[in-house]
């Protein structure tokens, strides 16, 4: 089963919840993997601190033009929907950062003057710690497109019983790539106007993808009661609440809040797991 942890708004506690959930699975001797799909700002291993066993580069395909074979016909420029290949003085010029790796230019070139080569966009680190299998992606600085790397991270540890996917914030391509094909999504929010607004956007995206979800309210006591009514009105199931505490915030700042949370809020965290399993099974039947 794949459980994605997402949020819309950043900094609500996705990584903390993902870590706490993985820790509960591992402590119950269940097979679990934790996949860091927030490849622009990967933070999972700052908390898990797994030793890294393997580091693999991840590449996407980009075209390479063999100039002697090119007759400057411009078919490549015409098919490219992303303005990544442009003819300058009858010679194709490539803007690699615009390329979506669709292969259009490669297939269309009548002279077969284009081949596809790999361009590294980032890498994936894997390891294990305390019964949690870890894999995390890291996008190279200056690289615009994270979805191909996210897709690759999600192929890791496919033999684990439960895979927990820490997703990037937002609701556009990277967040959708991380969340799609999951069996259940945990949306982590905080009871503030920004938190609620972004939760509604994220819930809309998850509903559009047809995936069941539940909501975890972090720093649950900072915003007053009006938010509880808002969640109910929109039909969100609150599957765990974690109160605000200076101890958690300070622990988080040092990278060691997870065991504290698991000890204090074990029942809440285990409720996330059992709710996710129940909903995923029910959704699989219909």
């Amino acid at each position: 089963m794949n459980i994605a942890i997402a949020s819309g708004k950043g900094g609500t506690g996705k990584t903390t919840v993902a870590m706490a959930l993985a820790t509960c699975y591992a402590r119950n001797s269940l097979s679990v993997a934790l996949l860091d799909c927030d490849v622009e700002e990967p933070n999972v291993n700052l908390f898990l601190k797994a030793g890294i066993d393997t580091t693999e580069p991840v590449s996407v395909l980009i075209p390479e033009v063999d100039e002697p074979s090119c007759n400057g016909c411009g078919e490549c420029e015409r098919i490219c929907a992303f303005n990544a290949i442009v003819l300058v003085r009858a010679k194709p010029l490539l803007f690699a950062e615009m390329c979506h790796s669709c292969g259009g230019c490669y297939h269309v070139c009548p002279e077969r003057a284009i081949k596809e080569i790999g361009k590294e966009i980032g890498f994936i680190e894997s390891g294990t710690r305390d019964g949690i299998a870890y894999a995390g992606g890291r996008l190279n600085i200056g690289e615009a497109m994270s979805p191909p790397l996210i897709r690759e991270v999600k192929r890791r540890h496919s033999d684990s019983g439960t895979r927990i996917i820490d997703s990037p914030p937002g609701t556009s391509c990277p967040a959708v790539e991380a969340v799609k094909d999951s069996d259940f999504v945990v949306l982590v929010t905080e009871p503030t106007p920004f938190g609620l607004n972004d939760l509604n956007l994220a819930a809309g995206a998850v509903r559009a993808l047809g995936i069941p979800f539940g909501v975890v309210v972090n720093r649950a006591d900072i915003g007053g009661d009006s938010f509880t009514a808002e969640y109910a009105k929109r039909g969100y199931d609150i599957i765990a609440s974690i109160p605000h505490s200076r101890e958690i915030a300070e622990g988080y700042s040092r990278g060691d809040c997870v065991s504290y949370i698991v000890e204090r809020f074990r029942a809440e965290i285990e409720n996330i797991a059992s709710y996710a399993e129940h909903q995923a099974r029910r959704n699989a039947r219909v």
Partner: protein, 287 residues
């Protein structure tokens, strides 16, 4: 010349929008641009009154005419995004609009259709004009939308004879962030003294350096971990990035948000005081 001050953070939830909205209230003669297009929050504080709105069309999506389709499967062979199902229906979320399927379909059964992926607005606010957007549910192309919003904000500044655009950016280091910082006069990175805040700050400062954009840093929730604040100051000093201030943890920041106000409008507490001080510094630093 129009100057552009961009507020970003690397890590999400460090307080970007609270800082940017306060700057919007403290400054004169500027246009505000909310470039965090897939989780836009500025409007919750500035309560905009839209005066102009337009649909944002970004690229195309494939559409298969089932009557013309011969089910040959060529499109499945060419599509690199798993966007076409075995019974030849296009999944609009996965389709990137490359048009390769349409080009090679032997039956000519695939049409590339314009795709509306959001809406953008020019609004009046009590702090001045705001350009903002709403990206559709699960839509992509946020980088293009960011570029459009920044362009509109500059145009409005030009028309009105203003010399400043204040931009609220998104978390991360990818496509929308690159579009947001491109052409900026100064980027203020709002960070927090946590292991993840520091890690993400380092990545985002590598990004500003990579694109040769000037950066400054401010630390939010500074009293959560003074040792980490010292580490941030040390890192910034080594990398010659100025630290414009350290905002203490202050519940008024949350209270202001709940009241639908910027921190500096709502409060005269310690966080508001420090944000005012940082603004004075930014005002000069942006040029």
């Amino acid at each position: 010349m129009i100057r552009e001050l961009v507020v970003i953070s690397g890590k999400g939830g460090t307080g970007k929008t609270s800082v940017a909205a306060s700057f919007a209230c403290l400054s004169q003669n500027k246009v505000i641009a909310d470039c965090d297009v897939d989780a836009a929050d500025m409007h919750l504080v500035l309560r905009p009154d839209p005066v102009h709105s337009e649909i944002f069309e970004s690229g195309m999506k494939a559409w298969i005419d089932r009557d013309a389709c011969s089910s040959c499967g060529e499109c499945l062979h060419y599509c690199r995004f798993d966007a076409i199902s075995d019974d030849f229906v296009v999944d609009g979320i996965s389709c990137e609009g490359c048009g390769v399927c349409a080009h090679f379909c032997p039956a000519g059964a695939i049409e590339m259709r314009n795709h509306a992926s959001g809406e953008w607005f020019v609004s009046d606010t009590h702090c001045g004009p705001l350009v903002h957007a709403r990206l559709g549910i699960a839509e992509g192309n946020s980088g293009k939308l960011v570029t459009l919003i920044k362009k509109k904000a500059r145009e409005i500044a030009q028309e009105k004879g203003y010399d400043l655009v204040i931009v609220d950016g998104s978390p991360g280091t990818g496509c929308p962030v690159i579009a947001t910082i491109s052409g900026a006069s100064l980027v203020l990175v709002v960070t927090e003294p946590t292991v993840s805040g520091i890690h993400d700050l380092q990545r985002v400062l590598n990004l500003t350096r990579h694109f040769n954009v000037r950066a400054a840093v401010c630390v939010n929730k500074a009293d959560i971990n003074p040792d980490n604040v010292a580490e941030i100051r040390e890192f910034c000093s080594v990398n010659e990035v100025p630290v414009a201030g350290a905002i203490p943890y202050d519940m008024d920041v949350t209270r202001a948000q709940i009241a639908g106000k910027s921190v500096v409008e709502y409060s005269s507490g310690p966080a508001a005081a420090e944000i005012r001080k940082i603004w004075e510094e930014m005002k000069h630093a942006v040029g």
